[in-house]
C-alpha cells in the first residue's frame, strides 16, 4: 500500500465464475424433459415449449379434475376414458377448474424445444424455473437478449477493441457463437441470424439496436416456423466498449470449443476443460472517461481531490499499458470510480 488509501478501495469486477447456476424461466405449458439431478450437455433439449399458446376450455363431463400444472401431449386424454375422454386439440397444461364444471388449459399445436446451454447438472426444477449448474466457468456479462444458445466459439475479430462488420459474417459461421469485439450494429446482428449464427458476444451495444433485436426476435416467434435460438450477450454495457481483458483472454483460449450463452443471469459458459483464467489482482481497467478500455497498474493512491465542477473524487496514479507496443506508459491520475480491479 502506497499513499493514503488502500488499493482495495478500487471496485473489483468478478469476470469469471466457477460452476455458475443458470436459470430458464418456465412458461405456462412448458413441459420439462429433464428431472432434478439429471446430467445435461450443450444443445440437449431440456424443455418443450408451446408456441402461439392459447387458452381453451372443456367441459369436465363429471370426470375428476386433473391437477393444475398437469401437462399433456397433443391428442392424449386429460381426464376420463373411452368415448367420454376429455382431450384438447394440442399439447398443453391444465391451468384450473372453473366453478361451472369446466377445465381451463393452455394449449398449442406448435411446439418448440429449449436447449441446455451448459454441460452440467439440473439442480432445480419447479413450476417457475429450471436451474442448471454448469461444470465449467462463466464469463459474467451485463446484458443478454434472446434465448439460451450454444455452439462452437469463433473469435471473428483481431482484438478486443475491433468491430465486426456484417460483410465478414457468412454461412461458414452457421451454428457458431461469434466474438464480435467492442460493438455490433443491428444490420450485422440481422445478418448473423440470417446466416444461422447461434449467438454473438460483444463488449458493447447501442440501446436502440437491442430494441430492434428484441422486436425482430418477437416477430420471428410469431411466425409459423420456429427458428433456432439466438442470444446476444453484452459484456460491458451500452455504447462502444472493448471486451474486458480477462474475458478476452478466456474467450480466445476457448476458441473452437463448444460454449453456451445464458440469459439469466447473462453469462458466457465455457467448457469444463477450459483453463481457469488467473486474474492479476494488482491490475486495473478504466471503465469510463477518455481512457475507457485501457488497462494498467496502480502506482499510487493519491486520496481525495477536487476536480472540475467542484466534484470531489478519490484519485489513483495509474501507469496505463502502451496502446501500440513498443511505447511509453502513459501515467495519469484517475478517479478510482473510473477503475475496476481485475479478479
Amino acid at each position: 500500500m502506497i499513499g493514503s488509501i488502500a488499493p482495495d478501495r478500487i471496485a473489483p469486477r468478478v469476470m469469471m465464475l466457477s460452476q455458475p447456476v443458470v436459470r430458464i424461466a418456465l412458461h405456462p405449458g412448458d413441459r420439462p424433459l429433464v428431472a432434478a439431478g439429471d446430467r445435461v450437455e450443450p444443445g440437449q433439449p431440456v424443455l418443450e415449449r408451446l408456441r402461439h399458446a392459447q387458452v381453451a376450455e372443456h367441459g369436465l363431463r363429471g370426470h375428476a379434475m386433473p391437477a393444475p400444472g398437469t401437462t399433456f401431449a397433443g391428442g392424449t386424454a386429460v381426464a376420463g376414458s373411452g368415448r367420454r375422454t376429455l382431450r384438447f386439440d394440442g399439447a398443453g397444461e391444465v391451468v384450473c377448474a372453473l366453478p361451472g364444471g369446466h377445465v381451463r388449459a393452455v394449449v398449442s399445436r406448435h411446439l418448440a424445444t429449449v436447449e441446455s446451454p451448459v454441460d452440467g447438472t439440473v439442480v432445480g426444477l419447479d413450476a417457475a424455473a429450471l436451474s442448471l449448474r454448469a461444470d465449467g466457468m462463466g464469463v459474467t456479462a451485463l446484458i443478454a437478449v434472446g434465448e439460451p444458445a450454444c455452439g462452437p466459439l469463433v473469435v471473428a475479430i483481431e482484438g478486443p477493441s475491433a468491430e465486426l462488420r456484417g460483410q465478414r459474417i457468412d454461412v461458414r459461421h452457421a451454428g457458431a457463437i461469434l466474438v464480435a469485439g467492442s460493438r455490433i450494429d443491428v444490420e450485422s446482428l440481422t445478418r448473423a441470424r440470417a446466416m444461422g449464427v447461434r449467438g454473438v458476444i460483444v463488449g458493447g451495444v447501442i440501446g436502440t439496436d437491442v430494441h430492434a433485436l428484441r422486436a425482430s426476435i418477437g416477430r420471428q416467434e410469431a411466425s409459423i416456423h420456429a427458428s433456432p435460438p439466438f442470444a446476444l450477450v453484452v459484456l460491458d454495457g451500452y455504447g462502444k466498449r472493448p471486451i474486458p481483458p480477462d474475458a478476452w483472454e478466456a474467450l480466445t483460449q476457448a476458441a473452437g470449443q463448444t460454449v453456451g450463452l445464458a440469459t439469466t443471469p447473462p453469462l458466457v459458459l465455457l467448457p469444463s476443460d477450459a483453463a481457469p483464467y488467473a486474474a492479476d489482482r494488482s491490475r486495473v481497467r478504466v471503465v469510463s472517461g477518455p481512457y475507457l478500455g485501457r488497462t494498467g497498474r496502480v502506482l499510487e493512491m493519491i486520496g481525495l481531490r477536487r476536480l472540475a465542477g467542484g466534484v470531489y473524487r478519490e484519485l489513483a496514479r495509474v501507469a496505463l499499458d502502451p496502446v501500440v507496443p513498443p511505447g511509453a506508459h502513459d501515467i495519469v491520475e484517475l478517479p478510482i470510480a473510473e477503475l475496476e480491479r481485475h479478479g
Partner: protein, 530 residues
C-alpha cells in the same frame, strides 16, 4: 447499541454503493469524524479501515484505541431491491387503489390481473415469475359470487404450483383460496391494511427505507422543525415529511430510483430523464449513458457524468413529487395542511429539506441545492442540507427512540452538510423588477429581484441573514404578499432566490431547454471550479 464513550461506525449498504461513517467522542460529545462511499462490491471493511487510518493520521489522540477498530460497534442499514408483487382482483376498479398503495410503499407491482379468460395465460405467466415475492388476491365485501369464484379458481390453481409463494387475501369477500393451504394465507382488509400485512411476508426487505423515515421523524423532534427528507438510490426513492406530531407523510417509490429498472426498456422514461440534461449530446448517446447508469451505477461519475447523474436525480425527484401530489389528491382531508385548496401546490416549504442517497454522492453541493429547488418546489423559505455521510438510514435502525434522538442531536452539526437556503417566490410578472435585501450583521446588500429567474446570493455556511423581498406584484410564499422577510442560513450553495413558476415548466424545444438549464445551473457549477 452505541456507547457515547467509544467510537462506532454507521454503514449504509445500498444496492449500488456503500457508505460508512466514523463517529467518536470529542470534547464530550459524539461527532462524525470521517466518512466515505464506494461501490458496494468494495465491501465495508476497506472503507472502515480507511476511515480509521485517515483520522489517526490526522490526530492519533482522537482514536487512542485505533488498533481495535474491528471490534467497534456498527450501526448498519441495508436497502434491498423492491419486493415484487402480483395483484389479482375481480376488477380494475378494485385493483387501482391497491396498486397505488403498494407502489407508494416501495413495492414493484409486476402485474395486475383480473382473472378474465383472456388473461388466463398472462395470469399464469405473472404468478410463475421466479422472482415474485408475493401474490395478493383482492376480493372485497359484496363482490359478485361468480366473479370472485372464477378469479379464485384461476389464481388459486396457479398459486398451488408455487408452494413457497406467500399469498395475501385483501377484503372480506373471501376467506380462503382454493388450492392454497390456509397456513400460507395472510389477510388484510382495506388497501393500507393489506400493504401492512404484506410486509410480514417479506421481512426486512423494506426495513432500510423505513429506517430513513424514522430518522427524519426523530430529527423533526430534535430540531422542533418541520423536516422533509428525500433519498434517491439505485433501486428506489423515499420521501418523508415529519413535524412535531411525527411523520406527516411518506412514500417509497421504486420509480423514484435514480434510473428505474423500467427505463432500460422504456425510451419515453429515458427521454423524460434526458429532458433535465444540459448536455448537447445526441439523444441516443444520452439514452445509452443513462442505461449504463442503471446497469453500472458507479461509473461515469465525473465531469459530464456528474451532470448527467444530477439530471437523472432531478427526474427521480420529479417522479417523487408527482407521486406525492397524486397521493395528496387521493387522500383528501389528511393533506389539507400540506396542499392548497386545489390540492396541487403545497402550502409552504418545510423548514429543513434533507437530500440523501447515492444519487447525490457525485455532484457538488451547490448543484444539488438547485436540483432540490428545481423539483421539490414549495413556496416559501427552506434550509437545504445533505446527509453526505448517509447516517440517517443506519441511525433509523436504532430501536430506542431516545437513543436515536440523542445521537442525532449530537451529530446534526457534522452529519448534515449545509447546502444553503432557498426562497421560492413566484408571482413577479414579466418585465417587472423588485428588490432583494440581504442583511448580515447590520450590513445590507441590495439586489434586483427579477421574474422567472433563480439568483444565487453568496452566503457562506454558518452565516445567518435576514432576507427581504420587495415586489411590485404579489409574491406567493404560502400567502400572497408584496413585501416578505425570512431568516435564512448560508451553505455551500449560498442563498437561492427563485421567482420561477411552480411547477417548473421546461421548454419543449431541446436547444431552448438546454439553454435554460445551462443558464440556471452554470453559476453553481462554475462557482465550484477548483
Amino acid at each position: 447499541m452505541t456507547s457515547g464513550a467509544h467510537p462506532s461506525f454507521t454503514i449504509d449498504v445500498g444496492s449500488a454503493s456503500i457508505a460508512a461513517a466514523l463517529i467518536a467522542p470529542l470534547d464530550g460529545r459524539r461527532r462524525l469524524l470521517a466518512s466515505a462511499a464506494a461501490p458496494v462490491a468494495v465491501g465495508a471493511e476497506p472503507l472502515l479501515r480507511d476511515l480509521v487510518g485517515r483520522v489517526s493520521a490526522a490526530d492519533r489522540a482522537v482514536l487512542p484505541d485505533a488498533g481495535r477498530w474491528e471490534d467497534w460497534p456498527r450501526i448498519e442499514c441495508r436497502t434491498d431491491p423492491p419486493p415484487r408483487a402480483v395483484l389479482a382482483g375481480i376488477s380494475e376498479r378494485v385493483l387501482e387503489p391497491l396498486a397505488r398503495e403498494f407502489t407508494r410503499d416501495g413495492w414493484a407491482v409486476t402485474a395486475t390481473v383480473t382473472g378474465e379468460r383472456a388473461q388466463a395465460y398472462e395470469t399464469a405467466l405473472a404468478i410463475r415469475d421466479p422472482d415474485l415475492d408475493l401474490l395478493v388476491v383482492a376480493v372485497p365485501d359484496g363482490s359478485a359470487h361468480d366473479s370472485a369464484a372464477a378469479l379464485l379458481a384461476v389464481v388459486g390453481a396457479v398459486a398451488s404450483l408455487r408452494p413457497q409463494l406467500p399469498v395475501v387475501v385483501s377484503g372480506g369477500g373471501a376467506t380462503s383460496v382454493p388450492g392454497v393451504a390456509p397456513e400460507r394465507l395472510l389477510h388484510g382488509h382495506g388497501p393500507a391494511d393489506t400493504v401492512a400485512v404484506s410486509r410480514q411476508a417479506v421481512p426486512g426487505r423494506l426495513a432500510g427505507r423505513e429506517a430513513f423515515v424514522r430518522s427524519v421523524a426523530s430529527l423533526a423532534q430534535v430540531l422542533d422543525l418541520r423536516v422533509e427528507g428525500v433519498d434517491v438510490g439505485h433501486e428506489a426513492g423515499t420521501r418523508a415529511m415529519a413535524g412535531a406530531d411525527g411523520i406527516l407523510r411518506r412514500i417509497v417509490l421504486a420509480e423514484g430510483a435514480l434510473v428505474p429498472a423500467a427505463a432500460l426498456d422504456d425510451q419515453r422514461l429515458l427521454d423524460a430523464i434526458a429532458r433535465w440534461s444540459p448536455l448537447p449530446d445526441d439523444a441516443y448517446v444520452i439514452r445509452d449513458r443513462l442505461r449504463n447508469l442503471r446497469i453500472a451505477p458507479w461509473r461515469d461519475a465525473t465531469s459530464d457524468g456528474a451532470r448527467l447523474r444530477l439530471a437523472a436525480a432531478r427526474a427521480a425527484l420529479e417522479r417523487l413529487e408527482d407521486a406525492w401530489h397524486d397521493d395528496g389528491r387521493q387522500h383528501g382531508s389528511g393533506l389539507d395542511r400540506l396542499t392548497d385548496r386545489h390540492g396541487h401546490v403545497p402550502a409552504t416549504a418545510p423548514d429543513l429539506l434533507i437530500a440523501s442517497g447515492g444519487a447525490f454522492a457525485a455532484p457538488p453541493g451547490p448543484a444539488t441545492a438547485l436540483a432540490l429547488v428545481d423539483t421539490l418546489r414549495r413556496p416559501g423559505a427552506m434550509v437545504l442540507a445533505h446527509d453526505h455521510a448517509r447516517v440517517l438510514g443506519p441511525i433509523g435502525t436504532l430501536q430506542d427512540e431516545d437513543e436515536r434522538r440523542r445521537l442525532l442531536a449530537e451529530l446534526v452539526d457534522t452529519a448534515l452538510l449545509p447546502l444553503g437556503s432557498a426562497i421560492v417566490a413566484p408571482g413577479l410578472r414579466a418585465a417587472r423588477r423588485g428588490t432583494v435585501r440581504v442583511t448580515v450583521g447590520g450590513a445590507t446588500t441590495s439586489l434586483p429581484l427579477t421574474p422567472a429567474a433563480v439568483q444565487v446570493v453568496d452566503l457562506p455556511p454558518g452565516v445567518s441573514a435576514t432576507t427581504e423581498l420587495d415586489s411590485p406584484d404579489d409574491l406567493f410564499v404560502g400567502a400572497r404578499a408584496r413585501r416578505v422577510s425570512f431568516e435564512v442560513t448560508g451553505g455551500l450553495g449560498g442563498l437561492l432566490v427563485d421567482t420561477r413558476e411552480i411547477p417548473l415548466r421546461l421548454p419543449d424545444r431541446p436547444e431552448r431547454r438546454r439553454a435554460y438549464l445551462d443558464a440556471w445551473q452554470r453559476p453553481l457549477w462554475t462557482n465550484a471550479e477548483p
